[in-house]
């Protein structure tokens, strides 16, 4: 037999209406008050705390925003490129297309490298997802999704599976098999379900969990085996277009960017937004962590790429030129973080000196928008995918 506890009912005058009734203790601004059940109900339906109105909340929000600006400005004692003046300038870069992967029938929308530094998965508007051996340019696997516009794809850390999704609002995982008799599509597992298109997906440190971003304005963390939602991340005011996980040493956070022009950093365990940055003037198409995990870069439709330092809690560099007027769709860092590669909607790839803020190279080759770009895991090359139906490996 277990002990039973009874709720002790206090009878007395209600703090709000003064009537003699059974009272419930409630807490407003850490103060305990005793309300009768009717007053508690009324308060709940009004949705207001005492002394709190929509107007007062708005003005508090404004003053907090002002305080945030002040705090951030206090620490803005110097610009990154000024500190970088003492760093040696970079020499000339010769980067060429070393491989062209042809086979997609329509715009390439997304790609990801396998940890083996040679395999690549790519997805396109016509619903096809292809796994390539980038050394030989051979196609190793191909699957046709039941939807068009497969905007997201990712390689599992083990190299044994891929994830993809798009207009089907889902993220599905396909185990990769070398058995010629097996139909890849047969083993498909639906993991994530959103209420709008899937814009980005990424496995976490293992094949067991997937992080997704969606046009429904949220990000979510899923268990692959059960398809269960582990955590959801709310805060963006519009479609979320991209995400990137922090390098494993730096802990459980990730950054996302969206059509609300905000980049937000999240705690994966609590679902809380830790920091947010709103300096871009248009949609943020791509976000990528700096290799140390202390900063991240973003690419936007406002034709700029920017660098945000997480410890200084502010934007510390803008990569732009008057001559660049088309949006940046995709960004990634070289291994040391010194170079930032940006794929743009004007068909080019611009290479930026992250520290000095200057452009060091411009790469031509694609015949339509560059939609996706990733540096290989060992940093020897980077791959770009384009609306011209091809992928190119540059080194």
């Amino acid at each position: 037999m277990c002990d039973q506890t009874f709720l002790a009912i206090v009878f007395g005058p209600c703090d709000k209406c003064s009537k003699e009734k059974p009272l419930r203790a409630i807490y407003i601004k850490s103060e305990q008050l005793n309300y009768c059940s009717l007053c508690v109900e009324m308060m709940a339906t009004e949705g207001l705390h005492e002394n709190e109105t929509l107007a007062s909340l708005k003005s508090e929000a404004e003053s907090l925003k002002g305080r945030l600006e002040e705090e951030r400005a206090k620490l803005h004692d110097v610009e990154l490129h000024q500190v970088a003046e003492r760093v040696e300038a970079l020499g000339q870069f010769v980067m060429k297309t070393r491989r062209t992967l042809k086979g997609h029938g329509n715009k390439v929308l997304c790609m990801d490298w396998c940890k083996d530094k040679r395999r690549i998965v790519s997805s396109s508007q016509d619903g096809k997802v292809i796994v390539w051996d980038s050394f030989t340019t051979n196609k190793e696997h191909a699957v046709t999704m039941p939807c068009t516009w497969v905007m997201a794809c990712a390689y599992a850390p083990s190299g044994c599976a891929i994830a993809c999704g798009g207009l089907d609002n889902k993220c599905s995982v396909y185990p990769l098999t070398f058995d010629k008799n097996e139909n890849m599509a047969a083993k498909k597992k639906s993991v994530a379900m959103h209420t709008n298109y899937l814009s980005a997906c990424s496995f976490t440190n293992s094949d067991m969990q997937i992080l997704t971003a969606s046009g429904d304005g949220t990000c979510a963390l899923w268990d692959v085996e059960s398809g269960q939602l582990l955590q959801s991340f709310h805060g963006h005011g519009a479609d979320v277009l991209c995400l990137d996980l922090a390098p494993s040493e730096t802990g459980n956070t990730f950054v996302s960017g969206g059509c609300d022009k905000k980049a937000m950093v999240w705690d994966m365990r609590s679902g809380q937004c830790i920091q947010s940055f709103e300096t871009h003037e248009s949609d943020i198409n791509s976000v990528r962590y700096y290799p140390s995990g202390d900063a991240f870069a973003s690419g936007s439709d406002d034709a700029t790429c920017r660098l945000y330092d997480l410890r200084a809690d502010r934007e510390v560099a803008i990569y732009s030129k008057e001559s660049i007027i088309f949006g940046a769709s995709s960004v990634d860092f070289s291994l040391s973080g010194r170079l930032l590669f940006g794929g743009y909607n004007d068909y080019t790839i611009n290479v930026w000196d992250v520290l000095k803020g200057s452009r060091v190279s411009i790469l031509f080759g694609h015949e339509n928008r560059v939609s996706t770009l990733r540096v290989s895991p060992d940093g020897t090359a980077f791959c770009s995918g384009s609306w011209d139906h091809t992928l190119r490996i540059w080194a």
Binding site: G47, D378, F382
Partner: protein
């Protein structure tokens, strides 16, 4: 109205958390970014450029024996 105030309350709470963050001066943060780049520059193949023999994507010059 309910929705707006609960949204407003959430926004205020989020801003309070963000305002309370510990921040570093840009000069110090920038120095650390520089240090990281410097420390890893030598092992960045796209930065330093590696010879064809070390990069699987660069075609090696082959000798043909006639």
């Amino acid at each position: 109205i309910c929705n707006d105030t609960s949204q407003g309350r959430r926004a205020v709470e989020q801003l309070r958390t963000e305002a309370g963050l510990e921040r570093m001066k840009v000069s110090k943060a920038a120095c650390e970014l520089l240090q990281y780049c410097r420390a890893h520059a030598q092992s960045d193949p796209l930065l330093t450029g590696v010879p064809a023999s070390a990069n699987p994507f660069k075609d090696k010059k082959t000798c043909s024996i006639l």
